[in-house]
């Protein structure tokens, strides 16, 4: 089934969210796609508790508060969110509309695409070793999808956050688990940490201090993971390595859409914030133009101008008469519809 909307926004960070508002004022409907399982982008994922001081009129606001307030602000426009998925493919239809396909096999059709993807999608941070690509998904698993393949196996888990500890505790029930972290302190919920230490005391898991140095393919389905703690080297022959080093951002499939790029940023004009491909826009941290500043503030401005041009694509026969939210009765009705 193909879902239809006016504009598809890629990225549910602050700039993507505010675009819903600016487009909504012009009667343009939106679907929003994001790889994270929640809206907010970097603000919600990287610094939900940290203060931002340069949002006009907000003396100080945390990343999460900004996200929550934006979600409330755009609610009257009834956006549709498609979370935990990435846009994989875009194609131009005969009707001149775009067809967007996501990693969860959703197809959405729209007149315009707005890329508000920040520094790209959040993906697991991978071990920076060469020649281990072929081991990914085979021996090295960054995101556990099927727990059953891990049963009764030798598993080495790396990391000191909640993911590493949750999986250590969970998999200790069904597999031989070793946890390795660079220090004795963990950045995880105290319950999870004490549970892990209890499992260690009960000899249900092993815990070692150290960091990964190298990985060798033993060509028998197993790998040898070489680790180091200060000057002491230790090797682990295991079936699976589960590294949990948090998330990083990657441009991903957007790089292959034929847009003019400059050092992994999308080039746009500063009148419409349109890319080199008509009806595809790029706003926020992901775009570049002379004088660009990576500020949320700038992204908000860019979204307002982008919306003006989207109107022309969405309603080619209509005249866009400029209105203020303060004085337009029609806009009042929309904004207070909830």
């Amino acid at each position: 089934m193909i879902e239809k909307t006016d504009v598809i926004i890629i990225g549910a960070g602050p700039v993507g969210l505010f675009s819903i508002f600016e487009l909504g004022l012009l009667n343009i409907s939106c679907h929003v796609i994001d790889n994270l399982d929640k809206p907010g982008g970097q603000c919600a994922e990287l610094y939900p508790e940290k203060p931002i001081y340069d949002i006009p009129s907000r003396i100080s606001i945390t990343g999460q508060e900004l996200t929550d307030d934006l979600l409330s602000q755009v609610k009257p426009f009834k956006p549709v969110y498609h979370l935990s998925q990435q846009v994989e493919k875009i194609a131009k239809l005969d009707s001149n509309d775009w067809l967007v396909e996501t990693s969860m096999n959703k197809s959405i059709q729209a007149k315009c695409i707005v890329i508000a993807a920040g520094a790209g999608s959040f993906v697991p941070r991978k071990i920076p070793l060469k020649n281990i690509n072929h081991l990914e998904e085979k021996n090295i698993i960054y995101a556990v999808r099927d727990k059953s393949i891990l049963e009764d196996k030798e598993i080495l888990i790396l990391g000191g956050g909640d993911s590493a500890l949750d999986w250590t505790n969970e998999l200790s029930k069904v597999a031989n688990v070793t946890l390795m972290h660079r220090r004795k302190e963990f950045k995880a919920s105290p319950d999870t940490v004490s549970k892990m230490f209890q499992l260690q005391t009960d000899k249900k898991i092993n815990f070692f201090l150290g960091q990964i140095e190298n990985i060798e393919d033993l060509n028998n389905g197993k790998i040898n993971v070489i680790t180091k703690n200060n000057n002491e080297t230790k090797s682990f022959e295991v079936d699976f390595l589960l590294p949990f080093f948090g998330l990083k951002m990657e441009l991903g499939p957007i790089a292959n859409w034929g847009l003019n790029l400059e050092e992994n940023l999308i080039k746009v004009d500063t009148e419409k914030f349109e890319t080199s491909v008509p009806s595809i826009f790029a706003i926020g941290d992901i775009n570049t133009y002379p004088g660009k500043l990576k500020l949320i503030l700038s992204g908000f401005h860019e979204s307002a101008l982008m919306a003006q041009q989207c109107f022309k694509y969405c309603f080619p026969d209509k005249k866009n008469i400029f209105r203020y939210t303060t004085s337009s009765k029609d806009l009042h009705k929309k904004l207070t519809s909830l």
């Binding site: 990287l46 960091q211 080093f245 948090g246």
Partner: protein
């Protein structure tokens, strides 16, 4: 104030520091290969550097936030720091450091 940075290819570059800035900001604005994805709020570990041993004790020590964030970096050493957490000061004139591998 001057800061000497060794990049990942081993090339040394002398940067002009400013006490209003963090070390990361100076390195990033010279277009050296540092990602600094989160913009300096100690939330990503992509501004990891090794501070020269003779300077490491002259820096303000790491706080818990920085130490936790280093858990997401690779090849962490005793002299590992996140450069966004180092506020430059006149005492650090001559600081030497190396960019950690990606």
């Amino acid at each position: 104030m001057k800061i000497t940075v060794t990049d990942r290819d081993g090339n040394k570059k002398i940067l002009e520091g400013d006490t209003n800035n963090t070390l990361m900001e100076i390195i990033r604005d010279e277009n050296l290969e540092i990602e600094a994805a989160c913009g300096g709020c100690c939330a990503c570990a992509t501004c990891h550097v090794y501070v020269d041993d003779k300077w490491i004790d002259k820096l303000e020590p790491k706080d818990d936030d920085e130490e936790s964030m280093l858990d997401q970096a690779f090849y962490v050493k005793k002299n590992s720091r996140l450069s966004c957490q180092i506020q430059l000061s006149e005492d650090l004139d001559g600081l030497e450091l190396e960019l950690a591998p990606e």
